[in-house]
């Protein structure tokens, strides 16, 4: 805004600083012998206008008092901060109109600190503006580059130094030093790069707690019960009404040694739809087949960048990721219907066990969560 305004100040105008000018646009000296110059000339600094406080003793006294008052206010506020720090109970909350309920100690400390700082700030700036000299000073600039002589001197010193060290005459020294300097950083790089990460197989990205552990004899172990998150209580199919949503973890999470790491991959969202609501196509039927009486379970880890896909829209049967708004259609195998995700959420194949609890009979058939370079290798059709 102020860019458009006329700045103030003055001096004499020299258009060019003498650096090689290759610009043709400059209107040169063509107007020398004509009465009217070709360009306007810089009029120089405008006459200085004195402030009231420069000439009027009363005004300058008043300014002095104002500054001192601001400094005084700052001191008072500092004292108030110290008193408040020791005096106010930190459990008291107060209601401040427009702000809401807030901690009293925090509020008082903040406001007194602010006044203490602002008092100094306003005081000093006011001092600078009304009492310190306000006549502008002109300082000349010089070309940034050094003179040719100093450039040559520097070049001679560098080249001469190299000469004295016999760099040119002894290539063996030059090249062996180059080699040593080129290599010495390697141990540091290797140390940090080699030790930062715990060596882990990429296949780890495709494994979750839902993978059924094998029995010692090689046969598949017992199916894993679905459990409520975070209580980890098993879920009866009959407890799930149409339209309800459950956040689910494998029951085996109880024995996990790495709870957060396992949760980050095993999180599942479970919902029940009326069987008539599934799409009447291959994907809709697959959704139903892998579920149990309209109860379906899907990985809750977004295939985009891994946020928990936690927002279920009951009426449209859409699942929305709150991070980047990828939208999945629960009636068609979590097909992506909007947003930046490419792949549907992987489905967890479920059924019920003898006691009527929901169980997963197999792990996910593809890696859950965001894509990675080797992902294809771990997709089982």
């Amino acid at each position: 805004m102020s860019d458009e305004e006329t700045p103030h100040g003055g001096g004499t105008m020299v258009e060019d600083d003498g650096a090689a000018s290759r610009l043709p646009a400059r209107r040169g000296d063509a107007g020398h012998d004509v009465a009217v110059p070709e360009r306007f000339e810089n009029p120089g600094l405008p006459p200085h206008v004195h402030r009231l406080s420069d000439s009027n003793e009363v005004a300058s006294k008043r300014a002095e008092r104002q500054v001192a008052m601001l400094f005084g206010l700052s001191m008072l506020a500092t004292v108030a901060f110290l008193v408040a720090y020791f005096a106010i109970d930190y459990t008291i909350d107060v209601f401040v109109p427009g702000i809401g309920s807030t901690n009293l100690l925090h509020l008082v400390l903040g406001v007194t600190m602010a006044v203490s700082l602002l008092g100094i700030g306003f005081g000093v700036v006011h001092w600078a503006k009304v009492i310190m000299p306000d006549e502008e000073i002109v300082e000349e600039r010089h070309l940034q580059r050094s003179s040719d002589a100093s450039r040559k001197k520097a070049a001679d010193l560098i080249l001469g130094g190299g000469e004295m060290a016999q760099l040119g005459r002894r290539p063996l020294l030059k090249y062996s030093l180059g080699g040593a300097l080129g290599l010495f950083a390697l141990p540091f790089v290797v140390q940090v790069a080699g030790s930062l990460g715990n060596p882990t197989e990429v296949s780890e990205l495709a494994e979750t707690l839902w993978d059924i552990p094998k029995n010692p004899d090689g046969s598949p172990g017992a199916p894993i019960r679905l459990a409520r998150d975070p209580e980890l209580t098993p879920i009866k199919a009959s407890d799930i009404t149409i339209g309800s949503v459950f956040h689910v973890m494998p029951e085996t999470l109880k024995d996990s040694k790495h709870v957060l790491e396992d949760k980050a991959k095993a999180a599942v969202i479970l919902m029940r739809l009326d069987p008539s609501q599934f799409a009447d196509d291959e994907r809709g039927r697959k959704t139903q087949e892998w579920g149990y009486q309209g109860i379906i379970a899907y990985s809750k880890i977004c295939t985009h960048v891994g946020c928990a896909v936690g927002l279920y829209e009951q009426q449209t049967h859409h699942l929305l990721c709150p991070c980047h708004q990828s939208t999945f259609d629960a009636t068609r195998d979590m097909d992506v219907i909007f947003g930046p995700a490419k792949r549907p959420l992987p489905q967890l194949k479920i059924t019920v066990d003898a006691a009527g609890y929901l169980v997963a009979t197999q792990g996910f058939t593809e890696p859950v969560g965001p894509s990675f370079w080797e992902r294809n290798e771990f997709v089982n059709e």
Binding site: D17, V124, V125, A128, R141, Q144, G339, P340
Partner: protein, 570 residues
């Protein structure tokens, strides 16, 4: 003098610093409110450093899990990381701790905001031109580091929101072709989230990045002293002087006082407006999530890019997964934006062929194409920024999120060129307005009725001081390729780069408005106030044939001056 023998004398005896001190204290700084933007950035960085040191006394950078038993009742009995627990303690159990935390967070937000606005000011006024290109590059790196420092910083408390941010970051890193899966194991030391990321981010946040920030920011300031500050054109202000107030006492007082003002305002905001109430989010857990999960504002543009990139950009080829819907926005966008930003001064210098030092700022209107490019960049950034709030916009304005997203997807291609064109036209119009003002004077507000009953407004002529800023600017002309044949009459071959350069130069300077000359002003006065002035305000270059068909005298030759042909209007 008393001091000469005192401490000052003692110091000078041992350092010989008197010369340097007088050099420093005599420095002249010009006044302009936009010059304070960089100061705000500098001061908020200092505030962050101060409060950050305080926070390290209580913060425990550990992902180790414990059960909370502190004074915040709603979270008692909940398992959480020590990082989260100690942040709760800072907020509830350390007296004044919440204030320090809030100042730290607000100052960080202000730091990035001030850097951004400062950079926009520097760009639009051309303050990046020789000899300040190095400082522009340093500033570019500083702004990138500020973003990273901020991201790492707000991730440290390990609350649900910031943990979700780290989760997303893991998704970003995974998307890097070839090495993605290895990178996440390096960063997290095994599977996400692991226990390594919090202490690692801590050392990056309190040691690595601040050290680079402080070093670069010192270099930035030193270069400002070395170059002397730029100034806006005005009477008495030239390219070879700097007009303003001396460092001692005026600028020490103004700048020092301003530090207290910035600190005071930050403290006041921190006292009144809660930022990042981590206690309301709960500890990080990969399973729960809240609606409206968003990063701090300065990461919004990258988040917005991720929301706009369509899913089909992920594909499978050569037996591998190429996740460009994530990679482009999260990993590639930042370096690309900052590289483009960093090289702009060199690009403009190449196009203009201008090798002189520039200490006088351009009024943005006097550089219409540059201002247009700036507006284009700002609009691009803003679209991405608003895209990061598409869910909030949808809820607040009762709009469809799909429509908003699709609209922004279209806008990202349409709006920036439009912003360029509109800004350029506005700049040219403003230049013509300047001409008008110089020729006819400024509106006085006095309405005069003539004898025959007509009304007109009296215009006051500008005095020389008011006029100067409106007529001082240079109007560069496009580079044109020189003769089409060489000395022997053989068709000259020109480097492709020279042809591109000529074309770009044409793009930059083909439309321009020449400032009023004394002759024009005299003519205007002679013709009376209400008559049109004969020379048309806008001129355009006339080149026979498209530039690429022309020859250039020699690839690095002086540019040829082409006569400006008057043209009516654009």
């Amino acid at each position: 003098m008393k001091t000469a023998g005192g401490i000052a004398g003692w110091l000078d005896d041992r350092t010989g610093g008197a010369g340097f001190v007088s050099f420093l204290l005599k420095k002249v700084f010009p006044d302009h409110w936009t010059f304070m933007l960089g100061e705000i950035a500098m001061y908020s960085l200092i505030i962050c450093l101060l409060t950050g040191v305080f926070l390290t006394f209580w913060f425990v950078p550990s992902a180790g899990q414990i059960v909370y038993d502190g004074s915040y009742l709603p979270l008692q009995g909940i398992t959480m990381s020590e990082a989260y627990r100690s942040t709760l303690d800072i907020s509830f159990d350390v007296r004044g701790g919440l204030l320090i935390r809030q100042i730290h967070h607000w100052a960080a937000l202000l730091f990035v905001a001030a850097i951004t606005v400062h950079m926009i000011r520097v760009f639009f006024t051309g303050a990046f031109r020789k000899p300040r290109e190095i400082n522009w590059v340093i500033g570019t790196i500083l702004s990138l580091l500020a973003l990273l420092e901020g991201f790492v910083g707000y991730s440290l408390p390990d609350d649900l929101l910031s943990g979700t941010g780290i989760r997303a970051m893991e998704g970003f890193l995974r998307s890097i072709p070839v090495i993605g899966s290895y990178v996440i194991y390096l960063v997290f030391d095994g599977p996400f989230p692991g226990e390594a990321i919090i202490p690692r981010m801590y050392s990056v946040h309190v040691l690595l990045i601040p050290a680079i920030l402080v070093a670069l920011f010192t270099a930035h300031i030193v270069l400002v002293f070395v170059h002397k500050h730029t100034q806006f054109p005005g009477p008495g202000r030239t390219n070879t002087n700097v007009v303003g107030y001396p460092f001692m006492p005026v600028y020490i007082a103004k700048a020092g006082g301003f530090f207290f003002l910035v600190f005071g305002v930050t403290a006041l905001i921190s006292a009144l407006v809660t930022i990042n109430p981590i206690w309301a989010y709960g500890p990080y857990d990969p399973s729960p999530i809240t609606a409206g999960s968003q990063p701090d504002w300065y990461m919004g543009f990258a988040d917005g890019a991720l929301r706009l990139l369509p899913g089909f950009l992920e594909f499978e080829a050569l037996g591998r997964t190429w996740s460009f819907n994530v990679f482009l926005g999260s990993i590639l966008l930042l370096p690309v934006i900052f590289t483009v930003q960093g090289i702009y001064p060199f690009l403009e210098k190449w196009v203009t062929g201008d090798n002189r030092e520039h200490h006088l700022l351009d009024r943005p209107r006097n550089a219409p194409v540059r201002s247009g490019i700036g507006a284009m960049a700002v609009s691009f950034y803003l679209i991405l920024f608003f895209a990061a709030g598409n869910d909030i916009i949808a809820i607040k304005l009762h709009l469809s999120i799909n429509d908003i997203t699709n609209f922004l997807r279209l806008s990202i291609f349409v709006v920036p060129p439009l912003a360029f064109w509109i800004t350029k036209r506005i700049c040219l119009s403003l230049q013509r307005h300047d001409r008008d003002k110089v020729l006819h004077g400024r509106e006085s507000g006095t309405i005069i009725r003539t004898a025959d009953g007509r009304f007109f407004e009296k215009h006051e002529p500008l005095d020389a001081y008011e006029r100067w800023p409106l007529v001082q600017q240079e109007v560069p002309e496009p580079l044109v390729l020189g003769s089409q044949t060489d000395a022997n009459g053989v068709a000259a071959k020109h480097a492709r780069s020279e042809r591109i350069r000529a074309r770009l130069s044409h793009f930059y300077f083909k439309d321009r408005v020449a400032p009023v000359t004394p002759a024009e002003l005299a003519a205007a006065h002679a013709h009376g106030e209400h008559e049109a002035i004969s020379p048309p305000p806008e001129t355009s270059i006339s080149v026979e044939g498209p530039p690429e068909t022309q020859g250039l005298a020699s690839p690095t030759s002086e540019r040829e001056v082409v006569k400006r042909a008057p043209e009516k209007d654009l």
